[in-house]
Symmetry: C2
Subunit: 351 residues, 2 copies
């Protein structure tokens, strides 16, 4: 199921679609492992297929994982499967992104409240719609932090491919482009799985934004040359102290930004902030297979049997984070106190 | 010309061999672009072939480039080519490594002094032998800086593949292994050309050293976990102020090491120190082709026509360098003053 079905008429990327009966129930996922070479869908007709797709990163990115999790529960409900068991399976598919477990929980609540598959599907759809609105709000809040003629460095992929809408950090960068404020988007290739080179470059090219890809380790010389005005990254989980777990390679960028007095800004929906996780040290980091590092596109790049260190994420401490942009406003500076205050204000205004 | 001819009987790597008539004159180069998949030689029967091999990184690494440059001049002399023209061609093949121009100069001096091809060849052989002795001396000086049970992080490839002997930074790490002092060698894969994953891992595996390969951007989390005791890297040029040009990705490691109070040590022969280059800003940095970043092993990894930023080197300022280990002793701390003093002592002792 390839081709234009992956996208809305207005050219927006649609990384996940619900397929109704009689063709469904099923979840169609734009296969992100095949981009940019091929735009093909993978159709998941049961939860096992979805869990496999999540683990293989067919579908990825914190906000989208939440949405996929919710639709997964809706799929189990529509199939009259064991919904609670399915929810547990999906929630455990990747441990670091808090959004996955949250999306699953929300859909599961709809199930336990109603035992109605349509209500679960409605909850998943609502989550996706909320995420689209959150994208727009994050882009608006984030844009206020982008200077004129900005050279923005980003890592991994945080655009429409990870969202029900425009995404997080990349949504801000592309909003800056539309506002005539983006001089250059520096795209970290993001080894080992090259989400930057493959996906962010693809989204930037589609948007007509000026971009250049670089090996992750070349970012240092960009900072040294004074060619980076702002770093924008997403997050997979933000702890109560403001520590940010994000794609491996984020923390070194934060250290470089700090060393060069360049703002380092995290863009993430409020659902990424997990007050139940006390600090960065408490965030579980997913270790992935060695062959993601020792082979590339099926080609071995290290001697046979080479051991590899391959954490999927790293943790950036709050003192290196200039600001966290959420759909509910900006946390700045970032500390346990300011995160707590942000949460209190959010609760008191009922947002 | 594949197989055991690439190596001496004692298993040492021999990345360059001179071939005498009647099969020569020629220079056989272990094709480092094919490692670790295949151990094959490329035989250069003229200077154009050698220049091409240097530019394609068939032969690479600062000390070995010097040796290759000297042998290249010897080849031109043995073939009765235009030796001065050949020397200019070779010296310009790659701009950043000062050793290349120095090796060429030394062989050219032998030619202008004697007009005797055998004298030029003797000069090249002498340079290679000196480099082997320098490797041993660097390993000895460097070993004194390695703690017990050391977890050493290294970048790029700086072992026997870049040298007439055991190499520079990797020579120190493998000496530490033989001394029972190496708990783990962390091998940065070193994008874009993967000299770490391909070559350093290959050398470490041959030496039976405990190693793990990692994506360059995973080094940050190793530092954060406290799993790095020492960073050892080589250098392509060291300016008079102690600034170190080395493979791109070195500078971010220096910033990370500084941030985490981990010693950052550069290992390089004295010939790498170029007092004629006043400061880091004066070092010419080679920009290489975009497709080194946007494709891997011929497989495109970014959208067609993606622009890329691909500097081959970066520059680490002296304040981030804990020590420079040379065959003539250790410069520590590193500054314009200490580099000058080291040079004066070197000159006064006639070494």
């Amino acid at each position: 199921m390839a081709g234009p079905s992956c996208h809305c008429e207005h050219g927006w990327v649609l990384p996940l679609r619900w397929i109704e009966p009689p063709d469904g129930p099923a979840i169609a996922l734009l296969d992100q492992t095949q981009l940019p070479a091929r735009e093909t869908d993978i159709v998941c007709t049961d939860v096992d297929a979805l869990v496999d797709a999540i683990q293989r990163l067919v579908v990825r990115g914190a906000p989208l994982l939440g949405i996929a999790g919710a639709y997964g529960v809706a799929l189990a409900a529509a199939r009259s499967d064991d919904v609670v068991g399915a929810a547990q399976l999906i929630a455990r598919a990747r441990p670091t992104a808090v959004n996955l477990a949250r999306g699953v929980d929300r859909a599961l609540r709809a199930w336990t409240d109603t035992a109605d598959p349509d209500a679960v599907l409605a909850a998943a759809r609502e989550l996706a719609a909320e995420d689209a609105r959150a994208s727009d709000a994050m882009a608006e809040h984030g844009l206020a932090l982008v200077p004129e003629r900005a050279r923005i460095l980003t890592h991994c992929n945080t655009g429409a491919l990870v969202s029900g809408g425009a995404g997080t950090a990349l949504a801000v960068a592309l909003a800056a482009h539309r506002a005539g404020r983006l001089a250059r988007l520096w795209v970290d290739e993001t080894r080992p799985l090259l989400q930057g080179a493959r996906l962010t470059a693809w989204e930037a090219a589609r948007a007509g934004a000026p971009y250049s890809v670089l090996a992750d380790n070349a970012a240092g010389s960009l900072f040294a040359r004074g060619d980076v005005d702002l770093v924008l990254v997403g997050a997979d989980r933000i702890a109560a102290d403001g520590s940010v777990a994000n794609k491996v390679g984020t923390f070194p960028l934060a250290v470089l930004a700090h060393h060069h007095h360049v703002p380092f800004v995290v863009v993430a929906p409020a659902s990424t902030i997990d007050l139940a996780t006390e600090s960065g040290a408490a965030i579980e980091i997913e270790d992935r297979a060695a062959d993601e590092v020792t082979a590339l596109a099926g080609v071995p790049i290290a001697p046979d049997g080479s051991p590899a260190y391959n954490p999927a994420f790293d943790v950036t401490p709050p003192e290196l984070v200039t600001a966290i942009v959420t759909e509910r406003g900006v946390i700045r500076p970032v500390s346990r106190d300011t995160v707590r205050r942000w949460e209190r204000e959010r609760s008191s205004t009922g947002r």
